[in-house]
Amino acid sequence: MECKIKIEKGKHLELLTLMNRIRLFEQIAEELFLHGEVPGFLHSSIGQEASAVGVCAAIGIDDYMATTHRGHGHVVAKGGDVNRMMAELYGKVTGYCRGKGGSMHISCRELGILGANGIVAGGIPITTGAALSAKMRGTDQVAVSFFGDGASDEGAFHESLNIASIYKLPVLFVCENNHYAESNPQAKHQNIKDVAVRAKAYNIDSVIADGTDIMDVYQKTLTAVEQLRKGNGPILMENKCYRWSGHYVGDPAVYRPKDEPLEWKTNRDPIKLYAGFLMENKIADSKELEAITEQETKRIWDAVEFARNSDDPDLTVAMEDVYA
């Protein structure tokens, strides 16, 4: 891990805090799901925290972001309130979407979060539209679209990158290549190693980052966003990473070689790597780091309490928001 730019200690700790918050949110939600407390599906992003936090740290609250079924991490990284997130997972009226969206549809207007999406690649054109809107309104906002390696096989991916290139839109397409599309390993769903090569089909720039190395992701995103704000057109970023869990909570992921997750967990844990870096460089000591974990653990359990104590939506809520 390498940091070539000046980053304040506070910023470092903030990044690590967010990574911990994501990890703990996912771990605890997973546990609650397996206990039957949380309905629906859950897709955990454990192992991909560096990508979420590294990218979102490089953009502002005014910038737009859209994500996928595996979106908790991105929402947290963009500043999402874990109380409202957890409540949404529980289907409670205090959730971001008043319990009508659930895990796969969390959005937050004030934070520029255009929404998770249950349709693979479904959010990519939408983010592209947000970028067009920013450009037409003459702001310097950018839009970030998160999606997976599998999503890059969808027609929606192709059409979005092409139109963004033609219109020179300030959109960062972030492919989190975790090497699997559900049960299908990358080599079985696309005949390329780097999704980034697909940028050539649209004559746009691309950049590959180590998605387990937050400093790498963060610095490369800063550079990319600078380009976007200059009006140089869209960029395709590929963050190589790995999802530790199954595709959804409950999936035993028998389709993976046994030692593969072990290898990533042991040697490429984004949080362990970053914590190690901070300690090695004497930016923080282990006490400080433990304090963060403790604080975030408490924060998530508080969120669980908040969700548990929240009300179910009133039945009338079901009939609202179909039309204005």
């Binding site: 737009y64 859209a66 959730g95 971001y96 979407c97 008043r98 319990g99 009508k100 969206g101 549809h105 959005s107 937050c108 207007r109 255009l114 929404g115 999406n117 249950g118 349709i119 479904g122 990519i124 054109p125 939408i126 983010t127 592209t128 539209g129 947000a130 970028a131 067009l132 809107s133 920013a134 037409m136 309104r137 839009a143 027609g155 929606a156 059409e159 979005s160 092409n162 139109i163 033609i166 219109y167 609202e320 928001d321 179909v322 039309y323 204005a324």
Partner: protein, 326 residues
């Protein structure tokens, strides 16, 4: 002062006036820019006036057209997207049905999707199976969408303005055979609200509810039937979502006989929904079963003789009304 103008010109005038009124509005679609000005020339001249930023060509990418419109609508713009033919909605159906229609709901009311998808549908030009469908029933089945189907230049202009100003996504279905038809259009700004039916002809014996171009067929049939002393009331719902049920039911309460005519295929078409609504609300008013007249359950054939055969004709409507009265 009303002037006579074509359906095409009325639509263009609506777009132009709205583009002037609100700078959040912009148009996007395939081949809409000048000098081509759109396949049916509705947008002709608008690039010249408003520039390529606000009237923008897209690649042939219906997912992107609709998805980009949605993203823009969610972030403060008011896009009017054009799908060149309604048939191409097949390419964009995920964005239309899973994203655009549901965004407000899934977000718990946080976001709006104030956008219009303008497109045209229908038969009559030997466009064959992939360029001549009528798909309003599909859209009506998707909660979250509004569905407009104007027949006159007056309605076209007023409803397009209403659609553009609407906070919800509206599928705006023009008809390819109507672009050259003419009618009176006021000079002043006006709006025809969605969800308000129009009694296009007053009558007492039978009510015909017809949509889009079939309103013209119904009016022709009414004229013929009048010679036989049969008085037909023609009700045009103008939008099928929202639907002005009351105007339809009021007419039925007067005539006690109802026919529904549309150009979409019969099976699971909108006429079925109207039958069901009448069952629910006005069963006792019926002196005869509701009669559906719609296209036959086939893809649209190319040959003009066959195309004419599968689509409702004025004669079929005339005969159907007589059936209803025996």
């Amino acid at each position: 002062m009303p002037r006579s103008m074509t359906y095409r010109d009325a639509l263009r005038e609506a777009l132009r006036e709205e583009l002037i009124r609100d700078e959040r509005i912009f148009l996007l679609g395939e081949d809409i820019e000048d000098p081509f000005g759109g396949t049916y020339k509705v947008t002709q001249g608008l690039t010249e006036e408003f520039g390529h930023d606000r009237v923008r060509n897209t690649p042939i990418s219906e997912i992107a057209i609709t998805g980009v419109a949605l993203g823009a609508a969610m972030t403060g713009m008011r896009p009017v997207a054009e799908l060149m033919y309604v048939d191409f909605a097949g390419c964009a159906m995920d964005q239309i049905m899973n994203q655009i229609a549901k965004m407000r709901y899934m977000s718990g009311g946080q976001v709006e999707a104030p956008l219009v998808i303008r497109t045209q549908q229908g038969t009559g030009r030997s466009s064959a199976a992939q360029h001549a469908q009528s798909l309003e029933a599909m859209f009506a089945h998707i909660p979250g969408l509004k569905v407009a189907m104007p027949v006159t230049p007056y309605d076209a202009k007023g409803m397009l303005k209403a659609a553009i100003r609407d906070p919800d996504p509206v599928i705006f279905l023009e008809h390819k055979l109507l672009y050259n038809t003419t009618g009176e259009v006021p000079e002043e700004d006006y709006v025809v609200p969605l969800g308000v039916a129009d009694v296009k002809r007053v009558g007492t014996d039978v009510t015909i509810v017809a949509t889009s171009r079939m309103v013209l067929h119904a009016l022709d049939a009414a004229e013929i039937l009048a010679k036989d002393g049969i008085s037909v009331e023609v009700v045009d719902p103008r939008s099928i979502v929202p639907l002005d049920q009351e105007t339809i039911f009021d007419s039925l309460r007067k005539t006690h006989r109802l026919m529904v005519v549309h150009e979409a295929v019969e099976r699971n078409g909108w006429g079925a929904e109207l039958c069901a609504l009448v069952m629910d609300h006005c069963f006792d008013e019926l002196d005869a079963p509701v009669k559906r007249i719609a296209s036959k359950n086939t893809p649209v054939p190319f040959a003009p003789v066959l195309e004419n055969f599968v689509v409702p004709s004025v004669e079929e409507i005339v005969a159907g009304v007589k059936d209803l009265l025996v």
